[in-house]
């Protein structure tokens, strides 16, 4: 769901950005690492503990052999990402290692992970990454003290990656502005309905998953017209089914739909969408195509800067 967060996590452990990682939603796992490796955490903020210390986000973290990493409470957001050095070598299905639970394909037999699953992580030499980090960091950055903080067997750099700044304002359960373009059927809604759509604070209901999130607030109905002919929908599409409660579609949305599309969440805000959890409130804000596309290019420009800073810090993509 939060593509940029996974890309960043992969970068931090020196993986290809598109390597498979773990997406953790609302409730996290307890992971047992048999071998030493590096991991990185990004996205929604959980309290993650290992060997009695809190595992920091936005950094490569060295995990010693036979370590248990435990996800506890969720502080903000909905989805965290875990990259493991070397990636997760599940079979590709239709060119992807993603899990699509709806069709039971990809990942581990097309299902969410279960207790006892053994993740196929190609063995890498964690020391190699350690050396990369220490060599460059020693030379270019560190003038005083140890470059790595070592605690209870874990170690991680004193630096951390700049954040992605994709989640807007303060991180918390406040009203978030989700920027949208008018949808293909925007004009099927009368002026009062359009205004209500833009002024209402919608609450995310518990019916929220990778396919979409049902919202609740003002009920919004289109003016009567010809029935719609099904056509493509996409990530971020805001549909209005007959009951008048909007649905924002997610990464696992269906390919086509026949409900009126009142709006379309812009791509720069897909990460924000990924971090909504039941109970959160959101408001929609209209932007223009030029603003939407410029924001999305801005996301990538920022990401390129982060990548460059990571190369300086010694994180090299394998």
């Amino acid at each position: 769901m939060d593509e940029m967060a996974l890309r960043l996590a992969n970068r931090l452990v020196g993986n290809a950005e598109t390597a498979a990682g773990l997406e953790v939603t609302l409730q996290g796992p307890i992971l047992r690492f048999r071998d030493a490796t590096f991991i990185a955490l990004t996205g929604g903020q959980f309290e993650v503990r290992a060997n009695g210390i809190r595992v920091p986000y936005l950094r490569p973290v060295y995990i010693p052999p036979e370590t248990t990493v435990e996800f506890r409470s969720l502080d903000w957001g909905a989805r965290a990402y875990i990259a493991i050095r070397g990636g997760i070598a599940v079979e590709e299905v239709l060119g992807s290692r993603s899990t699509y639970v709806g069709a039971q394909i990809g990942g581990m037999d097309g299902r969410p992970l279960q207790r006892g699953d053994l993740l196929p992580v190609p063995s890498t030499d964690p020391m190699e990454h350690h050396h990369e980090l220490s060599r460059v960091t020693r030379v270019t950055w560190v003038t005083e003290g140890s470059w790595m903080r070592e605690q209870n067997g874990l170690s991680y750099p004193r630096w951390f990656s700049p954040d992605l700044f994709l989640y807007g304002g303060k991180k918390g359960r406040q009203v978030e502005g989700l920027r949208v373009l008018p949808g293909s059927e925007w004009d099927r809604f009368g002026a009062p309905e359009q205004a209500a759509f833009l002024e209402t604070k919608f609450r995310v209901t518990p019916a929220a998953d990778r396919m979409g999130a049902r919202l609740q607030g003002e009920r919004i109905r289109p003016t009567a017209g010809d029935p719609l002919i099904s056509e493509a929908v996409t990530h971020g599409t805001v549909q209005l089914p007959p009951d008048g409660n909007p649905i924002v579609l997610g990464a696992d949305r269906q390919t086509t739909g026949g409900d009126p599309k009142i709006a379309q969440g812009i791509r720069a805000d897909w990460s924000k969408l990924a971090q909504l959890r039941p109970g959160d409130e959101i408001r929609f804000t209209l932007v223009t195509m030029a603003e939407a596309q410029e924001s999305y290019r801005g996301v990538w420009r920022h990401f390129e800067l982060i990548k460059r800073s990571l190369v300086w810090k010694g994180v090299v993509q394998r």
């Binding site: 069709a103 029935p227 099904s230 791509r267 596309q293 999305y296």
Partner: protein
């Protein structure tokens, strides 16, 4: 998030299409997809254009365009907004459409539009088709006559959508046209054959849905290990062949469902 597809039932009358000068219409789907609309009714002439353009596009791929979703009247192209702006893709597609229209007038209805005919075995009624008797009484028919009507017709795959490999089939005999269920089912088993309005379709994977279920096929419609990963493609012809429960079990066991 379910059964949006059921909204789309509109009479599939194959009226001779009056040439709409305004089509194709180009419009955005958000900031990283473009919709090309070839008409505003579900009919075979529009569908043929959709298919022809899809074939043309797939054989003339554009850098930066990552996905192509054909539907009843539209082809939606997903592009990489990191490198392409909407005005750029709009101008490029206008040119491509013009060149396709020249190409299309030269190659009208040649071999590339040849579609396959697929027979889908269906075990009608009983536990596989829990709504068959309701459909029969709604239509004032005997259940066997519903089966005869459904399996006697030839259908066209207008589009795939909803869930992976779900075919939207046109050509349902009007005598067995029924409204969809008031309350959609939360889970429908894979292979279920349903009808709603003047459409019929097959649920490729277990999913929610509101169509009236009259039978089930042991065939798999979604084949993730193959390319294309679906049994059916837009334009294909489909016939349903009644089978017994015994045959269903045998076909299911011998791996018709891969």
């Amino acid at each position: 998030m379910d059964h949006q597809h059921e909204q789309a039932t509109r009479p599939t009358q194959a009226t001779p299409t009056t040439k709409q000068p305004s089509f194709p219409v180009l419009r955005p789907l958000g900031d990283s997809a473009l919709v090309i609309q070839f008409g505003d009714a579900i009919d075979t002439a529009v569908q043929e254009k959709v298919r022809a353009f899809t074939n043309f596009f797939l054989s003339h791929p554009l850098t930066g365009v990552v996905e192509c979703v054909p539907a009843y009247t539209t082809v939606t192209l997903y592009y990489e907004a990191r490198s392409l702006t909407y005005p750029t893709i709009l101008a490029t597609m206008r040119e491509l459409l013009a060149s396709w229209q020249r190409h299309d007038s030269l190659h009208q209805h040649d071999g590339e539009l040849a579609a396959k005919i697929v027979e889908i075995p269906v075990c009608y009624g009983n536990r596989f088709g829990p709504d068959l008797s309701w459909v029969a009484s709604h239509c004032g028919m005997h259940a066997d006559d519903v089966v005869t009507a459904h399996s006697g017709a030839s259908y066209v795959v207008y589009m795939l959508g909803f869930s992976p490999g779900f075919p939207f089939l046109g050509g349902l005999p009007s005598v067995i046209s029924v409204p969809r269920r008031d309350t959609p089912r939360l889970s429908i088993p894979a292979g279920s054959v349903g009808i709603a309005g003047n459409q019929t379709g097959v649920y490729p994977i277990a999913s929610p849905g509101g169509w009236q279920l009259i039978g089930r096929t042991p065939l798999s419609l979604f084949l993730p290990a193959q390319f294309p990963p679906t049994l059916l493609e837009a334009g294909d012809s489909v016939r349903f062949v009644p089978i017994t429960e015994r045959e269903f079990e045998r076909m299911a066991a011998t791996g018709a469902r891969r």
